[in-house]
Structures are given as structure tokens and as C-alpha cells.
């Protein structure tokens, strides 16, 4: 691509791609250090109780094992729960690793074995003998929900259940057409491909560099400082490449704490890698029990909506998600009631997983809309359009944009929805029943709730450097930030170097909620504006220009009639100055704007499934998803984000489920063998359409973010397609073969 071309909006290949395909991108466990030690975690055998004895003799006798750290012999760490708070955790007291002998959930870390080799640590961990005294516990949400409660303290950034409006009870009782149903969604695990890992490089004098699998380097930096008593400036956290996270790396993982604890204790560099099984005890998407009631008139106009949910949380923290609010937002309805409750189970604290809240809340809403469509005898797409609303009824605010009608229209056209026959079991091909389902999707268009910074430097080597402590967890952040900077200076993307994933770089919040493109992107744009102004000023000085002769920056040069030849390249200007020139930009959340309007990203999803009538084998033949997400910075990487969400949606619909044995309080399918995520063969044809949406109010770049929306609506579109194929309404996910056998 030549200098001067427009780059924003172009399908540019990800700039970190060549490193990744060559195996040269380094992840947390792949940094070396002199004298590096290896650490492995010992997990609790019980779900609740206390440790009565620890016998590490055999472990310590294994050649190569040099230490076994437990709550009994660990170095001093922070005692108070406040020190373990991170920037995004929910209300409550965070889990404190190796703090005491109490066991709070199955597979809780109880010891760390440090060895000279990976094998010594791994195999030493199996030799630590721990005896326990068990206590009664509860991991079954169905039992725990008898003691459900409304969260007392709201979680920052998560909207509580909306206030009721109108009179749901009266409207529902009087309505001619109505449905009421109970739904269940299973606990899911993020299961990013990279194992949780931390390499702590001991730099001496209580100074460490921590290579960690996290979505927020500065979040981990702050956590390690507080919990382990380092000075902030002596902790540098690096997460330049992250092998997926999907929310599991929003909060600091106990692996980061334990690795750093071991390094501090031994004053040596330590690498700790969790096993896949141990990753099931970090966090998970809470299982839910939901109730929904919808009523409409003969024309399909919604008269009453009620959505209630009980979600699992831990004993120590109140994880909260936005689950029931969507029912009051997505469609026009004047009579609405909501309830959102939690129930405590003896597990780690559930956490955000891709499209938290909406993944399960919109799923139930959109399945229920399908139920209502069939109760009313109205085409499911038509029912949605008949209840169109462009106003946020929950908060009584206008929306900045909602191009979802275009999503429905374009995706329906591409899918061929008009060819669908209404009745269930009316389309088939041999043994297979064919089902076509539709669902709408919606997710917050967040801008980070805190100031977000970026630094842009024009370097003497002729390259433009963008730096921010943001994270690229596979999202394409490196690439879009390069595009924004390239466009600002009118240079090719190849001339831009992006540095991310380092706590020493300008402040960024954790990478989550699809806010990075809008927030960090805007900070980069602002930094570019400042840098351009600085460069123009430098040029004025250099060429002693006075007055108001117009100068601008384009194609890597300062341009103006007053300049020799009409343009001077930035490289020449810098050569004269003798140093790099940098500027920092800050994007502030538009708090005033947020009080004036609401912003959401929308989608329309159409799915075709084939269900073997006799055997219940479900195949997702194709999915078409149209997305309205404001300005799309890079349709190639954004398209991949959407596709990735859709594949996870297939998993949510058909595969993913933590299977807990409640007698042991333990997830038994804690492996890739038994916890199924979609494999290549499970994914049929997938098509993504980005519809035009101009929204200057949502964020300064007009960007809404695409990390979550791809997932929302996929599972209900599949579930609705299964209904259309089979006539069976499966109200629990995942929809597995057994649920389709008569």
C-alpha cells in the first residue's frame, strides 16, 4: 500500500500475522531468563473444608525440586482483602491464593512446587500429600437458588435490573396471546488455547518483569504491587501476545500471584504454567435459571414483558452481568418487569466471558420471541419488526443509532428467508429435517469508563510508533491502531510500528467489553493530532515561518506553500531537530453524552440447521450474520471477530457445558477431550455482513466495537432453527442429542 492511501476501513491483513504464522510471537510462557526455575500448582482434592496436614517430604526428595510453597511457609503477603482488589472485579472479597488452610472450591491452588526443570516441578506436584477435613458444600445452582438474593452492591459498569414500567401483571393477564417459559443455560469455560502462564523475571532488588497471560498489564501490575508488596515502579507486566482470553484474563489470575510469590521467595526467575484442568478453577460463565413471559395482541404488538434470572456466584463475591435488561430494551413495550438475583455456590467466582450477560439473556429473550411468534402465528422476523423501537425504554434515552432493520433486511435477503415455510417440520431433505431460525443481537457500545491514553512518536528512523498499554488478545488491536495512525499521517501501514501489552506504556484499562477500538483508537487519533501540530510547529521554527501561512501534515511530510518545494518530509525535519518527536493523546469517556443518549451495537442472525429426524444429530449448515457496529476500521479483522463469536455461539448452542459432579463439587469434564468446543467439522458456512451505520455520537471515531456482538444471537438463532426443524422447543443449552430424542 502506497503512502497517502486511505487505510481506515480497508481489509488490511493483521500486521502481527507474519510473526504469528512463523512461531515468532512470544506468549507468556515463552520468555527465557538466566537460571529460570519452573513452578507447578498443586490443586485441592476437595471442594470445601480445611487442610489438616501437608507432607512435602516426597516432593522435596524428587531430584530437581527445590521448594514447596504452601500457606504455612509462604513469605508474608497482604492480609486484607482490599489489597487483592483489581480494577474490574465485582463487589466482595477476592480469593487470596495460599492465604490460609481453608478450601473454598474444588481444585483451589494449595501449594506451589518449584523445580530446576519443568518436569521436576510437574512431577513434584503429584508427590505433595495433603490431608483435608471436609465440610458440607453446595455447587448445584438448582439447590442453591432456594436462597437466591438480589445483589446489594452493584458492580461498576454493570447495569442493575431496570425499574419496572407500566403494569406487567395486569397487561399479561389481559393479553390474548402469551407465553411463559423457564430456561436454563449451562456454565461455560473460556478455554482459550493458551494455558494460563506467568514468567517472572527477577531483576534483583525486589524488581520484576512479569510476562503474563492477561487482558490488562496494568491491572496485574497494580494487583501484584498491592498483594505482594512491591513498589509499583518495580513491577513491569508484559502481555505483548495473548493466546486468547475471552474474559478469563480480565482479572488477575491466581497463577500470576503464585509465580510472583515463588520468585519473591526464592529471589529467582520463575515460570508457572497451569494445566488445562486447573484452568477450570479460575473462573467461568455462570450458569443461569431464567424465566420469561411475553404477551402480545393479535397483530403481534408486545403488551407485556417479564424477564427474571438467577445466576450462580461464589461465596465471596457477587459477580453480576447484564442479563434481564435486554428484554426491556430490544422491543417496544410499555409494561415490563425484571428481576435479577444471585445464588451462592462453592466455586471460584464466575466471571465475564465473551458478551457477558447478553450471551445468555438475549438468548432467552430471542428464543421466547420465537415462541411468541408461533403462539401468534406470525413470522418470527416479522414479529421483531412489528415491535421496532429506537428509544432506550429502560433509561428513557434516545439511541445514537440502530441500523438493525438494515441488518435484518440484508441478512434475510442473503439467507433467503422469504423461501421459508412457517410451520415446524415442514422442510426436509431425506432423513434430515431442515430448520431456519432467526434472532436479533444487541450489546453495549462501550467506551472505556476511564481515561485511555496512547503515545505516538515520529522516529528519526522514519517510522511512526504507536504505544499504549492496551492488549491484543487476537482482536486485531495492533492492526487497527496502525491504520488509525497511518491514516492520520497519510503513510502506509508498513511504516507504523505498534507497541502494546506493556505496563510501562501509556495507561489503558483492561481489554474487554469491546471498548478498545473506540477508546484506544480515539486516544491514538488524538495523539496523532497533537503530534502533527508539534511537527508543524517544529517546521515553522526550522524554516522561520511567521504569520499564518497554512501548514499541514500529509504523506509523511509537512506541506505548505511557504515551505521549500511546498513540502518537507518529516524525516528531514527530525534530522534537523536531532531527536524523535512524540505526543500523547487521551480519550475521556463522554460522561455528559452518556446521560443524553444510549448506544448499542446490533445484529441479525439467520441460521440453518439440519437435524437427523431419528438420531437427533444436529449440523449447523450455514449462518448469516449482519452487524451494525458503526464505523468498521478493518473489515478483515473485524469480520474475523464476528466469525469467532459465531463459532463460540455454535459452542454455546450445541456443545459447551461444565458437567459438575455435585457430590465432589467438581467439574468432571475439565479437559478439551470432554469439554467440547466446536471443532473444524462442526462449523458450516459462515457469512458476515457489515451494514452501513454512521454514528458520530457513540465515540469520536464513530466506532462501536465488534468483540462481543458476533456471539449474541447465534445460539438463539440455532435453537429457533432446531424448533423449526423438529417442532421441539429445547429450553436448555447446550442442545445435545439426548434432548432431541423422544
Amino acid at each position: 500500500m502506497a503512502d497517502g492511501d486511505m487505510t481506515i476501513g480497508k481489509p488490511i491483513s493483521r500486521i502481527d500475522g507474519s510473526k504469528k504464522v512463523a512461531g515468532r510471537a512470544l506468549y507468556a510462557a515463552e520468555y527465557d531468563a538466566p537460571g529460570l526455575l519452573h513452578a507447578a500448582v498443586v490443586s485441592s482434592r476437595i471442594a470445601k473444608g480445611k487442610i489438616t496436614a501437608i507432607d512435602a517430604i516426597e516432593a522435596l526428595a524428587l531430584p530437581g525440586v527445590i521448594a514447596v510453597l504452601t500457606h504455612e511457609n509462604r513469605p508474608r503477603v497482604a492480609a486484607f482483602r482490599y489489597a487483592y482488589k483489581d480494577t474490574v472485579g465485582p463487589p466482595g472479597g477476592p480469593f487470596k491464593p495460599l492465604h490460609d488452610g481453608k478450601i473454598r472450591f474444588a481444585d483451589q491452588p494449595v501449594a506451589v512446587v518449584v523445580g530446576e526443570t519443568l518436569e521436576a516441578a510437574r512431577d513434584g506436584a503429584a508427590l505433595v500429600r495433603i490431608t483435608y477435613e471436609e465440610e458440607a458444600f453446595e455447587t448445584d445452582l438448582d439447590a442453591a437458588k432456594a436462597a437466591s438474593f438480589r445483589p446489594r452492591l452493584p458492580r461498576l459498569g454493570v447495569k442493575p435490573a431496570p425499574k419496572p414500567r407500566g403494569d406487567f401483571d395486569a397487561a399479561f393477564a389481559a393479553a390474548p396471546i402469551k407465553i411463559a417459559a423457564a430456561y436454563e443455560t449451562a456454565a461455560q469455560h473460556h478455554n482459550a488455547m493458551e494455558l494460563f502462564a506467568t514468567t517472572v523475571v527477577w531483576e534483583g532488588e525486589d524488581k520484576i518483569t512479569v510476562y503474563d497471560k492477561t487482558q490488562g498489564s496494568q491491572n496485574v501490575q497494580l494487583y501484584l504491587k498491592q498483594a505482594l508488596g512491591f513498589k509499583l515502579k518495580n513491577v513491569r507486566v508484559v502481555n505483548a501476545f495473548v493466546g486468547g482470553a475471552f474474559g478469563s484474563g480480565l482479572r488477575p489470575a491466581h497463577s500470576a500471584f503464585l509465580a510472583t510469590l515463588a520468585a519473591k521467595h526464592l529471589k529467582r526467575s520463575v515460570r508457572l504454567v497451569l494445566t488445562r484442568a486447573q484452568m477450570f478453577s479460575i473462573t467461568y460463565r455462570a450458569d443461569t435459571r431464567q424465566e420469561i413471559a411475553l404477551a402480545c395482541d393479535a397483530e403481534g404488538r408486545l403488551l407485556a414483558v417479564r424477564h427474571a434470572c438467577v445466576a450462580a456466584t461464589s461465596r465471596n463475591e457477587d459477580q453480576q452481568e447484564t442479563i434481564v435488561n435486554w428484554a426491556g430494551l430490544a422491543y417496544a413495550c410499555d409494561n415490563a418487569a425484571f428481576d435479577y438475583q444471585l445464588a451462592r455456590v462453592d466455586t471460584p467466582t464466575p466471571g465475564d466471558m465473551r458478551a457477558p450477560g447478553a450471551a445468555v439473556g438475549v438468548h432467552v429473550l430471542e428464543c421466547a420471541m420465537d415462541e411468541l411468534a408461533y403462539a401468534a402465528g406470525i413470522d418470527p422476523l416479522d414479529l421483531r419488526l412489528r415491535n421496532w423501537v429506537e428509544h432506550d425504554q429502560n433509561d428513557d434515552l434516545p439511541l445514537t443509532s440502530k441500523a438493525q432493520k438494515a441488518c435484518y433486511a440484508q441478512a434475510a435477503e442473503r439467507f433467503g428467508w422469504s423461501e421459508r415455510s412457517f410451520g415446524p417440520r415442514t422442510m426436509r431433505d431425506g432423513h434430515e429435517l431442515i430448520g431456519w431460525g432467526v434472532a436479533g443481537g444487541v450489546w453495549d457500545a462501550f467506551v472505556a469508563p476511564v481515561p485511555t491514553r496512547a503515545r505516538v512518536t515520529w522516529r528519526r528512523d522514519g517510522r511512526l510508533e504507536v504505544a499504549a498499554a492496551a492488549s491484543d488478545i487476537g482482536t486485531g488491536t495492533y492492526t487497527i491502531l496502525a491504520q488509525i495512525a497511518a491514516e492520520a499521517f497519510g503513510v502506509s501501514v508498513e511504516r507504523v510500528e505498534v507497541r502494546l501489552g506493556d505496563s510501562t506504556l501509556p495507561f489503558n484499562p483492561v481489554e474487554g467489553g469491546s471498548w478498545m477500538a473506540a477508546s484506544t483508537g480515539a486516544a491514538v487519533a488524538k495523539a496523532c493530532d497533537k503530534l502533527k501540530a508539534a511537527l508543524v510547529k517544529t517546521a515553522r521554527k526550522q524554516f522561520k515561518l511567521r504569520g499564518k501561512s497554512a501548514l499541514s501534515v500529509a504523506r509523511g511530510a509537512v506541506i505548505g506553500e511557504a515551505l521549500p518545494g511546498g513540502a518537507v518530509s518529516l524525516n528531514e525535519i527530525l534530522a534537523a531537530v536531532g531527536q524523535d518527536i512524540a505526543a500523547t493523546g487521551t480519550n475521556l469517556p463522554d460522561l455528559a453524552g452518556q446521560r443524553k443518549h444510549s448506544s448499542y451495537v446490533h445484529s441479525a442472525v439467520f441460521a440453518e440447521v439440519r437435524v437427523d429426524e431419528e438420531l437427533g444429530v444436529i449440523r449447523v449448515k450455514r449462518i448469516v450474520s449482519a452487524i451494525a457496529a458503526g464505523r468498521i476500521l478493518n473489515p478483515k479483522t473485524a469480520g474475523s471477530q464476528i466469525i469467532g463469536g459465531m463459532v463460540m455461539g455454535i459452542g454455546q448452542a450445541l456443545h459447551e457445558e461444565a458437567q459438575t459432579d455435585h457430590r465432589f463439587g467438581k467439574v468432571m469434564n475439565h479437559s478439551f477431550q470432554d469439554y467440547h468446543v466446536p471443532a473444524n467439522a462442526d462449523v458450516g458456512d459462515i457469512e458476515v455482513i457489515f451494514v452501513q451505520e454512521h454514528d458520530p455520537d457513540v465515540s469520536s471515531l464513530g466506532v462501536k466495537g465488534v468483540g462481543e456482538i458476533g456471539l449474541v444471537g447465534v445460539a438463539p438463532a440455532i435453537a429457533n432453527a432446531v424448533f423449526h426443524a423438529t417442532g421441539k422447543r429445547i429450553r436448555s443449552t447446550p442442545i445435545t442429542i439426548d434432548k432431541l430424542l423422544d
Partner: protein, 337 residues
């Protein structure tokens, strides 16, 4: 992993004398054993690497059958032209299992000897009679979606996870073994055992014996076979239920029938009485359903796997229908024929 010694056997005799020492385990492809060692389920005192013994060959026998070397990688077997011609059911079953990478390494003998994938067996934090005899079977009353509906005992409801062995069972394969006492031949039906009171013992292979090859008799079924595998995702997953079906048709009448089931018992499940019900009947839904009901008549569910009884019944009918039509199930086109 525990600490163990490692020796590489260069000849079968070396392997036989090495395995005679207590605590020794044979390592071939290792895809199951190394996995079990990593989970601290298998803790051999010494590993005898037999992967270089000259037992990799695949031979076409004069009687129309095949001899599969114990160390032939599964992929070599499945893609061997002679296997595809003489035992297409076997080739298909192998390709239904595991992944391309695993099939490149896993061997014939290792496949026969692979252990159950029961999550409790794999998790040393829970009891398991197969892992620690006498400790109990938590799969009973626990998470048992994948577990046995036929031939289980109160001590164990685990299933044998192989796909290949299901086809071998349907084809009446014979396992050639060599031990301190010389060679012997074990019919496949007798090779794996039901759990009974001793679920820790998977097979009738005796201590000190080594599988050298597997003979697959001449297959008289022509195109009338199918391997149908049903699972919780469309690839790279163990079977909920699988069926190897083969029919010999004479003048439109079933002259011989074979039905073996995978994922339902501690061994590939054959019911010869049920197969006999088919003989003399015209192939069709009625006959197939009758046989399927007979096969599943003794089935017992344990809660999470109750559905497998009905699923298995339907799968038997479908696999037999595919076999009768000469339309074997494709392992890449996931549409069930």
C-alpha cells in the same frame, strides 16, 4: 509423571524378556500411555519402548484376509489400499476415531489396549475401581453421559473407547500374541472383557504377553457395511454410540449379519443371537428394528446415559439400513446417510 527407567527393545525377544520384569509397561505409539502417565494414572517403573520392533507391516493374506502388524500406525492401516479393498469397514472405523495426528502415531496393538476415557478413571482425586480397586465407582450416580448401558457391573460402568476395535469385533478379527509360553491366538470377542468384579483388568492378554499382529478374515460383505458414530461434536470426540454393521445378502435375503456396538460397554459389544434373528429375512426396517431391540433388551441406564439405550437402538437400525443399501457412512460428510 513418576520416575521410571527407559529401555528400547530392538527385537521381540528383548521385549519379551524386558516386559517379564514387574512394573514394566510397553510403549508403542504412546498416545494413550503417555497421556495416562501425565495424569499420574499409569505409573510404570520402567518403560519398554517397542516402537522399533519390525511389527509395522500390513500383509494381504492368501485367504483374502489381512494381517495388521501390531505397530502399524492407524493412519497407515486406514489408508492402505488393501485394507480399503478387503476391510473397508475397518478403514472407515479407524477414520472415525481420534484425529489425523493421533492416527499417525497410535498403533494397532495400542488401540486394542487403550484404556477407558471415563473422567473418574482419569482423575486421581476421585475414587475409581479401575484405577484403585475397591475404592468405588463414582460414575454410578455421577456424570455418566458417556458410560455403559450394556454389560456393566456395580464395580464399573466404563466403556472401551475404541472405534477400530468395534470394526474388528464385527469382522471377527483374531489377535496374535506371543508370550513366555509361545504364541496364541485370541478371538477378538474374547480379547476384551467385561468389568465384573475386576474392572482393573481390561483384557485377557496375560502378563508378559505382547500383541504381534491382528488377523482380519476375508470380508464377504462387499459394499454392505457401515460404521456409524454418534457423538457430542461432529469430529474429534469419543462415541456416545457407534455401530459397525455388515450384511451378506444372497438373492435379496440376509445370509449373514454382523452388528458391533461401541461406546456402550466395557468392550465392543456383539450379540450373535440378535444377529441370527436377521438371517433369512429380507433387509428392511422391520427386521433391523427387531434385531436392534434384541441387542438393547438387556440395556440398563444410569441416569445421564439413559438416552443411549434409545439412541443405540436407532443407530443400529440406521447402520444396518446403510449397510443394506450399500451406502456406508462417510466420515467426512457429516450428514447421516
Amino acid at each position: 509423571m513418576n520416575r521410571f527407567s527407559y529401555i528400547r527393545a530392538e527385537t521381540l525377544d528383548e521385549a519379551l524378556s524386558a516386559i517379564a520384569l514387574p512394573g514394566s509397561a510397553l510403549l508403542a505409539g504412546g498416545t494413550n500411555l503417555v497421556d495416562l502417565m501425565k495424569y499420574d494414572v499409569a505409573k510404570p517403573a520402567r518403560l519398554v519402548d517397542i516402537s522399533r520392533l519390525p511389527l509395522r507391516g500390513i500383509e494381504a493374506l492368501d485367504d483374502g484376509g489381512l494381517r495388521l502388524g501390531a505397530l502399524a500406525p492407524n493412519a497407515d492401516t486406514a489408508y492402505d489400499a488393501r485394507v480399503q479393498e478387503r476391510a473397508p469397514l475397518l478403514a472407515s472405523a479407524i477414520l472415525a476415531g481420534a484425529s489425523a495426528q493421533l492416527r499417525n502415531v497410535a498403533t494397532t496393538g495400542g488401540n486394542l489396549l487403550q484404556r477407558t476415557r471415563c473422567a473418574y478413571f482419569y482423575d486421581p482425586c476421585t475414587p475409581c475401581n479401575k484405577r484403585e480397586p475397591g475404592s468405588g465407582c463414582p460414575a454410578i450416580g455421577g456424570v455418566n453421559r458417556m458410560h455403559a448401558i450394556l454389560g456393566a457391573s456395580e464395580a464399573c460402568i466404563a466403556v472401551h473407547p475404541s472405534d477400530m476395535c468395534v470394526a474388528l469385533a464385527a469382522l471377527d478379527a483374531r489377535v496374535n500374541v506371543q508370550g513366555p509360553g509361545g504364541v496364541r491366538v485370541i478371538p477378538i470377542a474374547d480379547f476384551h472383557r467385561l468389568p465384573g468384579e475386576q474392572p482393573q483388568i481390561d483384557s485377557t492378554l496375560l502378563a508378559g504377553e505382547i500383541i504381534t499382529s491382528v488377523d482380519v478374515p476375508a470380508d464377504p460383505f462387499g459394499p454392505h457395511h457401515s460404521y456409524l458414530k454418534l457423538r457430542d461434536r461432529l469430529s474429534y470426540a469419543f462415541a456416545l454410540v457407534s455401530v459397525a454393521a455388515a450384511l451378506r445378502l444372497e438373492d435379496g435375503i440376509i445370509a449373514q449379519a454382523r452388528v458391533a456396538l461401541g461406546g456402550v460397554a466395557h468392550k465392543p459389544w456383539r450379540d450373535q443371537e440378535a444377529e441370527a434373528l436377521l438371517v433369512g429375512l429380507p433387509p428392511g426396517r422391520e427386521a433391523f428394528d427387531q434385531a436392534a431391540r434384541a441387542i438393547l433388551a438387556p440395556a440398563v441406564g444410569h441416569g445421564g446415559n439413559d438416552f443411549k439405550i434409545e439412541l443405540a437402538r436407532r443407530a443400529v437400525v440406521r447402520a444396518l439400513s446403510q449397510a443394506a443399501a450399500g451406502a456406508p457412512q462417510s466420515q467426512s460428510d457429516k450428514r447421516v446417510r
